[in-house]
């Protein structure tokens, strides 16, 4: 009886680890959601096998909005651009309920012809900065977006 009373008084002590909410970072082996209408992306999402990140092309190896990633999708390696994150964002940048990716090829041309979710407008600036004159042109992705938030 006495012990149960003590247990009731000090219930918190039994839990030795801290339980804060997770950061939802995009890193190695994170599952993403393909939001364009490319054939491979549509089939992968329909089969319930969403792509996994196998590389994030930046120094930190943590994907932020507008970063280029290499994904494993249906046994193939494809490149993609992160267009929406679950993570807490800066002021005025939208935070999405899922980690969204748009598949591109090496030149930056999207594989699909349409994106069926809204795209953050900050990508206009970010993708413009990432595009080099003779390298890949990532701003083509903005042309197939349907809506900006």
């Amino acid at each position: 009886m006495f012990r149960s009373l003590i247990n009731k008084l000090i219930p918190v002590q039994s839990c030795g680890f801290h339980t804060t909410s997770c950061l939802n970072e995009v890193q190695l082996l994170t599952r993403l959601r393909v939001v364009d209408n490319s054939e491979i992306g549509k089939r992968a999402m329909a089969e319930g096998k969403p792509p996994k990140v196998i590389c994030v092309y930046n120094k930190k190896r943590v994907g932020y909005i507008g970063d280029r990633v290499l994904v494993a999708i249906k046994g193939q390696k494809k490149k993609g651009i992160l267009v929406g994150l679950k993570q807490t964002q800066k002021v005025k940048v939208p935070k999405f309920d899922s980690n969204n990716v748009v598949l591109i090829d090496d030149n930056g041309t999207p594989l699909g012809t349409r994106i069926h979710v809204p795209i953050p407008t900050i990508l206009r600036t970010i993708l413009k900065e990432k595009t080099h004159a003779k390298g890949a042109d990532y701003t083509k992705l903005l042309g197939i977006a349907t809506r900006f938030v």
Partner: protein
């Protein structure tokens, strides 16, 4: 002898508690807005005994004018300057009265697309921060994709804030809408504003949302939410036991905790006396302007 002393101290403590509780109720800035309304309705006959200060009611309408009660972060000069800046910004742009649960439309000028604006409609799920750092979060489901945008209230790039539906909900934070079925936070982007007749109190929407099955983002069952209907369906026996163990029913009697969370009445009335006149003037002039506009627009149409 010692017994008598003890008894008397206990009595004094009880009296102090009683007074304090009343005071704290009166002063709490953030939560239990709904409770306060209920209390007042119940206590209408005995209301004359309590000193009812209308100027303190501003704490619900303009919560960001009150500083953070944490004494480490207080600085009277900074607070005063921030208040002056806020009033200056409010003279430029109409920041309406809104609460958590109201549906807002925010238009900002878009620095990423030159010369264009960006409009977002959503339900306000959280309001926090004080002073110039006050911010609010809007949530909406667009094209079956849940989106949240955080805005600063005094951001100079905001062009207009429009309240489409002014109402409150049962809870003071609606973060559980992230785990609710999407129809509870889906609002059309071209929603028409609903105008309340003047002088009516802000309605409380008693809607109770249904949560999706687990996993959830937080342990909603431990937060004593009033706006969720089906939380018990998804719980296991283990969760119920743990919820009982983690309960803190003594916290509402913790006077010091309550006191540290709020700004005392003397300080509040000082702040409100400083800003109230200007706020009231702005409100009156805005009303006049809107009336003029409603009169003039049909004339121009006729001409």
């Amino acid at each position: 002898m010692s017994l008598v002393i003890r008894k008397s101290t206990v009595e004094i403590l009880c009296a102090a508690k009683w007074i304090f509780r009343r005071d704290c109720r009166l002063l709490s800035t953030l939560p239990e807005k709904t409770e306060i309304v209920v209390d007042e309705k119940e206590r209408i006959p005995g209301r004359k005994t309590r000193s009812y200060n209308p100027i303190l009611e501003n704490r619900h309408v303009y919560p960001e004018f009150l500083p953070d009660p944490n004494p480490n972060w207080r600085n009277s000069l900074r607070e005063k300057m921030e208040r002056a800046d806020m009033l200056k910004r409010r003279s430029q742009i109409d920041i309406p009265e809104f609460y958590v649960g109201s549906i807002l439309a925010v238009t900002i000028s878009d620095p990423h697309a030159q010369g264009k604006t960006n409009r977002f409609v959503g339900i306000c799920i959280e309001r926090k921060g004080c002073g110039l750092r006050a911010e609010f979060t809007l949530r909406n489901v667009v094209d079956h994709q849940g989106i949240e945008v955080r805005y600063e209230l005094y951001d100079p790039t905001i062009q207009s804030i429009q309240v489409l539906r002014l109402e409150k909900r049962l809870d003071d934070k609606l973060l559980y809408l992230r785990d609710a079925l999407p129809e509870y936070c889906t609002f059309p982007l071209d929603m028409d504003p609903e105008i309340l007749p003047e002088g009516t109190p802000v309605p409380i929407n008693p809607v109770q949302v249904k949560l999706k099955p687990r996993p959830w983002l937080e342990r909603w069952e431990r937060q004593e939410l009033k706006g969720v209907s089906n939380i018990e369906e998804h719980l296991k026996e283990k969760d119920r036991v743990r919820r009982e163990l983690r309960k803190t029913p003594w916290e509402k009697y913790d006077l010091m905790k309550n006191y540290r969370k709020t700004i005392p009445a003397e300080e509040q009335s000082e702040i409100w006396n400083e800003v109230y006149n200007q706020l009231q003037q702005m409100r009156v002039s805005r009303k006049k302007m809107s009336r003029k506009r409603t009169v003039t627009t049909p004339k121009t149409q006729l001409a």
